[in-house]
Every structure is written in C-alpha cells, then in structure tokens.
C-alpha cells in the first residue's frame, strides 16, 4: 500500500490527513484525488517520495505522496 498525506486547506476534503491507497491498475495522482474526493484545482504542489511530481505522475504501492494547496510565503 502507498501512503498519501494532505496539508492545509486540502484537509477540509478528507477525514484523516494521512491515508493508505492501493495503486494496482496503473494509477496516477489524479486517480487518487478522485478516490479521495479532492478537487484537482485545489492541489498546487505534488511531492512523491520527496521529489517534485505532477497530477499525471504515476503512483505505486511503495510511494509516499504529499499534496499541498496554493500557499504563500510568510
């Protein structure tokens, strides 16, 4: 199972900030968003295993995915 974590205003779409996913069947980040009910437009930055990724990036069961909304510097 892969792990997904969401931050800041994306938390309003999910019950838990952290969830596990099953990536079988060649999934992308977009597919995960649909499963979780998070609107694509709300996601500004996708990180997979600490590296910058995109909505179209494939995900695997070994992956740690982190999603961030649009947030500005302090």
């Amino acid at each position: 199972m892969g792990e997904i974590q969401v931050y800041a205003s994306l938390l309003k779409w999910v019950r838990n900030p952290r969830a596990h996913f099953n990536a079988e069947g060649k999934k992308s980040v977009t597919d995960l968003l649909k499963e979780l009910g998070i609107p694509e437009d709300d996601v500004a930055i996708v990180m997979i295993n600490g590296k910058r990724a995109h909505l179209q990036s494939p995900v695997y069961n070994t992956d740690s995915v982190k999603l961030f909304p649009l947030i500005g510097g302090g």
Binding site: A8, S9, L11, D42, I45, G73, G74
Partner: protein
C-alpha cells in the same frame, strides 16, 4: 516624463489633478535639543510614502557612511501612501534608518494599532534626529493639542509588557504605542521595535535590521499617540473610484486560496511544504529537513489552538480592517496565551534551526524575544550559532530560554547573542554563520530556494525575505536550478518595494499580479494622480535605485557581501544542493531597466 535618477529629486512623472489632501505633516524631533517641529513637506515629498519616503529622506539627509547609532543617523517612522484610507491591510508602519546590523538602508514594517493612530493625527512621518548628550529614557507623546518628550526614568530596563502596561496607566487605554525593550536600550544590534494591538494581545515587531538599537541610541523608549479629538480626514480625489478598487481587492483576496490558508493556518501554513522541499533551516542551517517538522507545522499550530481553546485563536488581524487575518494567539495547555502571533519565521529560526521540536517551547522562546525586545529571526540564528559552538546543545529549550533572558539582563553572553548571529559567530569562533550584510538569513535556506538567495544577496535590505520572497515561485520554477532566479528575484523585489511604499501588506500581491491597473485606480481615487502601470512600477524601481545608491555610498554593495562560503561549499541535505547563482549575474540584475508594464 521625468524619471528620477538616484538622487531622488524632482520626482513628478505624472500629472496631478489633486483635490485630495495628502498627509503632508512631518514631525521632527531633535533628541539633543529636545525641540519638536511640525513641518509641511514639499509637493515632491508628498509623492513618497512608507519605504519610499524613508529611502528618499535617507539619501537626502543622512550621510551614508555615518555611524548607525551615532548622532547623524535618523530614525524615521513613515506612513504608506494609502495609510489613511480604508483599503484592506493598510496600516503597516514603515520604520527605517541606516541599519545598525547591515550598515545600509533599512525599512522594516509592522502592523499593530499605532500606525492608524498616527494617520488619524494626519501625520505622514516622525523623524528622530541627533542623540542626547546624557543617557535618557524618553517618551514622545503626540495628541492633536500637544507634542512633547516626557522623561520617564521609571521605564528604564523594563520589558515590553511592563512598558506597555506603565504607558497605559499614565496615558490611558486608547493610545497607540511603539516601544523598545531593554535590548534596544542597550543598543544591541538584534533589537527591534514593538507595537501592540488595541488590547495588547498581539505584540508586533519591526524586527529586522536592528532598528531597536537605533531607537535606543536616541534615548527614546516609546512613542505614544493619542488621536482623540483629531479632526484630520483624508480627502479623496474620487472617493467612488477609490472605493470601487478597494472593494475589488477584498473580493479578489476572498477568492484566493492563499487567503483561506493564511486565515486558518497563518504563516505557519508553509512549514510542511518548506520541510518537504528541503529548505527549512535546521540546526544552524546544516539541513533543510527537520525530523520533528510534523510537530511544529501550521496544521499542528491550528490543532493545538482549536483543542486547547481558552484564549487561543486563529484568524486574527494585525491591523484594523485586514480581511486576511493571518495572525494567531497561541495558548498553553490550560488555554492561556503564550505568545501572539506565532509566525512561520519564528518557528523555523527558534525551532528547527535550534533543533527544538516542541511548539510550547518555541512559543515561550518567541514570547521571551518579544519581551526583551529582539528580532526572533536574528536571535534564532544567533542561538543556532551558539549551539554549534557548544554553549548549549541543539534542542536544549530550557538553555535557550535562559540565554534569551540573559539578553534582557545584559550579561556579557546575553549582549553577544543580542547583537545577532554575525557577532555571536565571531566571538565564539564559529565559521558557519548564516548572515548576509551582517543580517541573519530568515526561514528559507538559499541553497534549496535559490531565488531567495538572490534576494538576500542583492536586496538593499540584506538577508530579508520580505524584500522579495521566491517561495511563491515553487509552483512554477525549479528552486534548485540557478537559471531564471535573478529575473524572478528582480520582479519580486519590485513588487515588495511598491507595496512597502503604499503601506499595504505583502500578502495582497496575488490579485494585483492579474490586475496591476488597480494600483492606478487606488492612487487616482485618493490623490487624483493620473498614473499608468508603468508610472506606478517606476516608483518602485526608483525606490530600489535610491536604496542601492545609499548602500553604494555606505560601502555595502552586494559584491562585497556575497553568500556565506559554507552555503556555496556544503551540500544541503536532502537535496545536496549548494548555492551556485554566479555573482556576476546577480550584480548585473539592474543593469537594464526592468519590465515596468507588469506587476
């Protein structure tokens, strides 16, 4: 069209049909003769506000090579051009002078309640000149009927909370206050200037650059502003046009997802992302990731505020009328306020940079910095350097609290730390010191966010993220690549210079990027100035030109103050990046006129 050259003279690039009255009263306080003069500024000077007016006055009146805490420097409080209007976030007070810390120009702006009082008194700027011949603890009092320097020796050495409380007892509840703590009185270069909100819950700081030491050098402990009975009213040239643009800004900000995040999670909202992309200062800038980041991020701040309740709150304004409201009140386990507001910068410098991974500890440290009167960024960096030197180990929160208390007590160790990271490193024999132009690098390691490295190096303000923060380029640029960072920083520096001159918060940036003509509408509505976007951006460009000229004459141009060598030599985990934007690219940033037709 006349574009001002660096001397800042004859700045009249647009035609005015002004029927609106600008704030044109400047109060000059001579701290040696104790004379207080009210003067009306020239028409040229009414065109400058906030940061721009500070730069303009510095270049005109302060010898760039003077001693920062000597008699020829001036401490300037300057209202933004839109300070006396209802536009949201207006009320940021620009405070400046020649920086004790950098030796160059400094403008640091601060929210709070007092700037509004100053604008209700119709005062554009306060200029403190000269130094007293004997040590003084003075309070400048201004009301519509009176202006005077009150000697208050009973405030000497008092912490910020005690000072505010004694001032309220003497002058009443409804006053606006700026003050310094003992660190400023002792002229420590890490000292800032504090400003509370109306009920003294939020203590805001013009923290950067050591302006608290400059205020201390003038023998001025506090400024008290009483606007009761003032009949000043901003006269609008076209109130309807102004209000239309002001309403547009509110609607546009409400629609921005950045606003929602800032409102709910505050500036700490960015900590998780800063950690994930590896730019979070950790253990004296030796790593960009902190293993306890989840315990100190914006989500955790929010969770503690909600679950602890009591006085804890998110979504607090730092100036009246702000609709973003990114401030918070961080409570202890019993719900009693520890500090307000707990900000990203302070968490990163006092927390991860010191190896401290507990929000209560960080909030306590932040509170202590606010009390003794030092910049939490500079002090967090100095503590990190002291930890590297082995004075106390990384992660020792109790030891760190003791050190900050010592700053207020004025012990020799406290004085070393209170003078900032550079002096701390020099005295303690540490080579890895995160400063540029003598000022500590804030919460974005420049190796992992190279645009900020360019800003730290090239900005007239030294290592200061508010001079052009590239964090917002994370979505569109690779922060690890040197390419494109000089152009990005240039654009960001122009934006910051403009907003600082108007007196608006940097957080109103997003809507104006799409609609820069709204600046023109606001300025037309208030003053009747007919400016196009090019004129408005030209104003920002001229502010930077004046500042760069002041710094050139002061001997603090960027080529003499490069990125610290360890930032160029030591790869930063987890990206193993070094800072590698060539100095010749950074130096040539302003060789060609920037694109001024967009914000």
């Amino acid at each position: 069209m006349v574009i001002a050259d660096c001397a800042g003279e004859a700045y009249i690039p647009w035609e005015s049909e002004s029927e609106g009255e600008g704030m044109n009263t400047v109060i000059r306080i001579n701290t040696r003769t104790r004379s207080i003069l009210r003067e009306t500024v020239s028409e040229d000077d009414t065109k400058w506000g906030g940061r721009g007016y500070i730069s303009h006055l510095l270049l005109k009146e302060v010898p760039p090579a003077c001693e920062a805490v000597g008699r020829y420097n001036k401490l300037i409080f300057s209202q933004g051009l839109l300070a006396d209007t209802s536009v949201t976030t207006a009320g940021q007070m620009s405070i400046g002078g020649k920086s004790p810390l950098t030796g160059g120009v400094k403008e640091s702006n601060v929210g709070g309640f007092a700037a509004r009082k100053l604008s209700r008194l119709g005062i554009k700027a306060l200029v403190f000149e000269d130094t007293p011949t004997t040590p003084s603890t003075d309070v400048l009092f201004i009301s519509p009927m009176d202006m005077r320097l009150d000697s208050m020796p009973e405030l000497k050495g008092k912490l910020v909370d005690e000072t505010i409380s004694l001032l309220r007892q003497k002058y009443g509840k409804g006053i606006g206050i700026f003050c310094i703590g003992p660190a400023g009185e002792m002229m420590m270069y890490g000292a800032g200037i504090a400003s509370p909100d109306s009920d003294d819950v939020q203590i805001r700081y013009a923290g950067r650059g050591g302006l608290g030491a400059l205020m201390g050098s003038k023998g001025v402990k506090a400024i008290v502003l009483d606007d009761r009975g003032s009949d000043y009213k901003a006269l609008y040239s076209d109130r309807e046009a102004f209000q239309k643009a002001a309403k547009w800004l509110i609607d546009a900000l409400r629609a921005s997802p950045k606003t929602e995040n800032r409102h709910v999670y505050g500036t700490p909202a960015i900590l998780a992302l800063a950690n994930e992309v590896g730019l979070l200062p950790t253990r004296n800038f030796s790593s960009g990731q902190f293993e306890f980041a989840d315990d100190i991020n914006g989500e955790k701040v929010r969770q503690e505020i909600v679950s602890r309740g009591g006085q804890g709150k998110s979504g607090q304004p730092c100036v009246p009328g702000c609709i973003i409201q990114c401030s918070n009140i961080f409570p202890d386990k019993k719900g009693k306020k520890i500090v307000a507001s707990l900000q990203y910068e302070n968490i990163s410098l006092l927390g991860s940079n010191c190896g401290i991974g507990n929000l209560d500890d960080i909030a306590e440290l932040n509170h202590l910095c606010n009390q003794v009167g030092v910049d939490a960024i500079e002090t967090g960096a100095a503590l990190g350097v002291a930890m590297e030197a082995g004075v106390i180990p990384f992660g020792d929160a109790e030891g760190a609290r003791d050190l900050v208390r010592q700053i207020g007590e004025g012990s020799y160790l406290g004085r070393i730390l209170g003078n900032g990271a550079q002096i701390t490193g020099r005295v303690l024999g540490v080579r890895r010191v995160p400063v540029i132009k003598g000022q500590a690098i804030p919460g974005y390691d420049p190796r992992a966010l190279k645009g900020n490295g360019v800003t730290y190096t090239t900005s007239p303000m030294g290592a200061d993220h508010t001079a052009g923060n590239a964090f917002e380029t994370l979505k569109t640029m690779d922060p690890l690549k040197p390419e494109g960072q000089v152009d990005a920083s240039k654009r960001l520096q122009l934006r910051a210079a403009l907003l600082d001159t108007l007196g608006l918060c940097l957080f109103v940036r997003p809507p104006f990027v799409q609609n820069p003509e709204k600046f023109c509408e606001l300025l037309y509505g208030r003053f009747g100035w007919k400016m196009d976007v090019r004129d408005v951006m030209g104003m920002a460009y001229d502010v930077l030109k004046m500042e760069r000229e002041f710094n050139r004459q002061a001997g603090v141009s960027e080529e003499f103050f490069p990125m610290p060598e360890f930032m160029c030599d030591e790869p930063l985990p987890p990206n193993n990046a070094v800072f590698d934007v060539p100095m010749e690219h950074m130096k040539s940033m302003w060789e060609n006129e920037p694109v001024l037709t967009q914000f």
